[in-house]
Amino acid sequence: MSTTVVTSEAEGKTWGGGNEPLKASYGKMMMWFFIVSDALTFSGFLAAYGFSRFKFIDAWPIADEVFTHVPFLHGHELPMIYVAFMTFVLIMSSVTMVLAVDAGHHLNKAKVTLYMFLTIIGGLIFVGSQAWEWATFIKGDYGAVETKGGNILQFVDADGHRVALRDFAVAGEHERVQQERKNGLWFVGEGSLPTYTVEDVIHGFEANSNLLVRTQYLTEDGQKTVLSREESLKQLKANGKLVVEGANLQHNEYGSPLFADFFFFITGFHGFHVFSGVVLNIIIFFNVVLGTYEKRKSYEMVEKVGLYWHFVDLVWVFVFTFFYLV
């Protein structure tokens, strides 16, 4: 026993433990390494999104046409505005977080409490906005017809403005009733049926001579291809198979179902990170209030959870670019 003590002293205690060659504590360094691995997970998802997009580069939905809604401003086409607001909220909550870390360095309990609280509020606003964004996306807007081959046919008027199904299709007599578990086979249910059948849509389309079909294929200058009236009718009658309203994992009125799949998966995974970040922030917030770190004379836990929170912001910056801008 005594010999070991002597050797470790002779070697300047290099192997005695407690060394910090990177001048960062164990906990902080492990948080950094967790962030590295999580960054790789996210980039794996985003690269997979890029793969699918390059695979269907000539038929990918245009994000500006998909995300055009802002809460309380119904009927206005305002692409980007709401996402920009969400981005700003998240960056702002990052700022309050870093201010909390800074106040922690000065052992200022009151300020840490305030800034942690603001960070939590920012995170909640962001998660709420994302939920709203999902709900709008799932509900859909204009509606479309899916063809046998899985392509999407949307409707425009002569000027190229989108026309919603509800503006021209008239719901006829429906023989098909949604099957529920209580009627029919008790173990089989099905999703809600669309408001219109393909026949309703075709009748409405024939009655309005100014309507045209828009396919999901892009022209040379990045616009969706609009078919001629005859071609539109032909496509609709020969290939129209299913009316799609909104988006889920199988069908997507905005275009390729893969777009919806990746949207749900990546923003969902990010939203889950924000949610767990908020939970961690709340735990740390209560520790701050209870004076745990005051007694410890170190607010390093705030710093660690701050690293995670900034990382969530960092990922959102990339999700924002690749889903809404590019």
Partner: protein, 126 residues
């Protein structure tokens, strides 16, 4: 260690008196960059639609601005600027290398699959 932050950004072009001031400065810069992105995304100027290295110039601008934002978030909010070189390189270069590698492979393959669908003559059902 924790208290002495490096208080300058843009390679010393902009110096701040305190860490709090630097944080607000970085926030203004990040909001400014986001505002540019949003304005470009809404108006999509025709002059930026030329293709550079297989992608629209506008998209390149978006990606570069994103990386700029990521840099300031990591360097000033996550205090990467104040960490030792060893930690910084271990975290940043590892991630960048692996992400570039993964992105290159997947995008290359995606482009290939598109070409097969578009111009190929492979029959799947014989």
């Amino acid at each position: 260690m924790a208290q002495d932050h490096k208080l300058e950004i843009f390679r010393g072009l902009l110096k701040f008196k305190s860490n709090t001031q630097k944080i607000w400065g970085v926030l203004i810069f990040l909001s400014f960059v986001t505002a540019i992105e949003v304005v470009l995304g809404i108006y999509k100027p025709e002059s930026l639609m030329v293709k550079v290295l297989g992608m629209k110039l506008l998209n390149w601008i978006f990606i570069i601005l994103t990386i700029v934002k990521a840099y300031y978030i990591a360097w000033d909010f996550m205090h990467m600027r104040d960490e030792t070189k060893g930690l910084r390189r271990a975290v940043v270069w590892t991630t960048i290398f692996l992400i570039l590698y993964l992105t290159f492979i997947l995008l290359q393959e995606g482009g290939y699959v598109f070409n097969v669908y578009d111009k190929g003559f492979i029959k799947k059902d014989f």
